[in-house]
Symmetry: C2
Subunit: 285 residues, 2 copies
């Protein structure tokens, strides 16, 4: 039995940076320190943070005092305004890559362009990007939704930074027939692309694949879809405790990958759980 952890799996730069920022803020600031929404789509890390005194609030109005950390996904400009109005101290941990997309959306909208954002409608990054579009933005999740847009002389299209390239390509393809001049900004971040490519590659050479990460993490869900396309025997688990002997039946080569919000411990624990399961029951035919 062999266990292979995908290259480029686990925490991305933006999420690592947000975690560091949050902990540094906790040390530096008195009073309440909370992120706006869970800092990271991973219940276990969220619990660790809460134990360290970094809580979370659901809405800007819930923050009564102290410091609010804007997580890596970023937020719409209106959220900053609402926090400032309430004299809340803001620490902005928006991923710099997402910030670039926000500025791009704003610049395109200022030039009068309709901006199509290909992303999950309810994902905080997408909602944030939409907030920068000055009312000229429209979100589509896939080619079918793109096909429903009316014809236009010109429009621009960007992607949620952690979206699946294949879905973005298909949505862009659908926009081509609807747009005379379409400017496509492929804003899927390198870290996402590299992670997705590595997971697909690994899924192709193992007989069982585990994707480890929070069920609410959009990019982890995409990673699961990508892996499952290549290797139908792919399991999406939130933590090592979910691994059952059934999942490992007949497995000889096992691949593991994790999303941008999956901490290294979670992957390490999955590896250990698989090893222990095999030690208990070496022949799983």
């Amino acid at each position: 039995m062999e266990i292979i952890v995908a290259e480029h799996s686990g925490l991305c730069y933006g999420v690592r940076r947000a975690l560091t920022t949050a902990r540094r803020t906790r040390r530096a600031k008195p009073g309440q320190v909370a992120s706006l929404g869970d800092l990271i789509h991973n219940p276990r890390v969220v619990a660790d943070l809460a134990a360290e005194g970094i809580g979370s609030v659901e809405t800007p109005d819930e923050a009564r005092s102290g410091t609010v950390i804007i997580r890596s996904h970023g937020v719409a400009p209106d959220v900053f305004r609402r926090l400032r109005r309430r004299k809340i101290d803001i620490v902005d941990a928006t991923c710099p890559i997402v910030q670039n997309i926000q500025h791009l959306v704003e610049a395109l909208a200022r030039r009068g362009r309709q901006v199509v954002i290909v992303g999950h409608r309810d994902h905080p990054e997408t909602r944030g990007l939409l907030g920068y579009s000055r009312g000229r933005g429209v979100v589509v999740e896939d080619a079918a939704q793109a096909r429903e847009l009316p014809s236009r002389k010109a429009r621009a299209v960007v992607a949620q930074s952690t979206y699946d390239l294949e879905a973005f390509e298909a949505a862009v393809g659908a926009l081509v027939g609807k747009t005379r001049e379409l400017t496509v900004h492929n804003t899927i971040c390198d870290s996402t692309r590299t992670r997705q490519r590595a997971a697909a590659e690994l899924a192709g050479r193992v007989d069982t694949m585990f994707i480890v990460g929070g069920k609410r993490s959009s990019n982890t869900a995409r990673l699961y879809e990508i892996s499952e396309r290549v290797q139908p025997r792919t399991f999406f688990i939130e933590n090592a405790g979910e691994i059952t002997p059934d999942m490992l039946r007949g497995a000889r080569t096992i691949g593991i990958s994790g999303g941008a919000s999956t901490p290294p411990e979670a992957i390490r624990e999955a590896v250990e759980a698989i090893e222990q399961s095999f030690e208990r029951n070496p022949t799983r035919e």
Copy 2:
């Protein structure tokens, strides 16, 4: 038995204009009048033109005197230069829609952009467009070829005016993963789009479909592919003489469409041939 001729089938504006221009030129000019390459991808019309004294030459150097007509597909700037050097009188019947694409390719290339042209590599329009790209053009015929291009920060993409929208969409989709900022100019002309849509729609409600046109006509071949995707019982014929009783066996509703270079007579004759075949043998079960 019912025969339905597709709306928007047959000669497009650009080809009709080139034919009118050629005949007007023949009346106005003494000496040799020849098109550079067949004026239209239809052997029958080419023969008619020859009988009227409008011949064709294969290369600029073949033109020794008189007038050369540039056909609707257009040519590279270099061809104009070579003809001028030989003091040949030039009548330019390039389709105005193609001329717009030529100017677009030139403008994009002048701004330093790589220009991907999605079209048939050997099609005269595509070769002409490539000539306007100042060495920055590259032709791809489909998504597979687009996928082989190296990654780039920015590039632009245009289509041969008579290309299939679905193939263009797929090629653009493939470029998305290779390009940070991709400007997509959907230069497929309205006439092509309307014709393709009408043929697909008709193919969906008949049991037998005939696509009439020259075998060398790129847009007619595309029309055949589009129809055949919807109605596998599609026949590509150059003229009415090719219609056999076998093709009509069991047919109850028959559709007919023709490409941008298919003269109305060719479609009329196909209708007549089918009618006569049914009169000779009314029950074709």
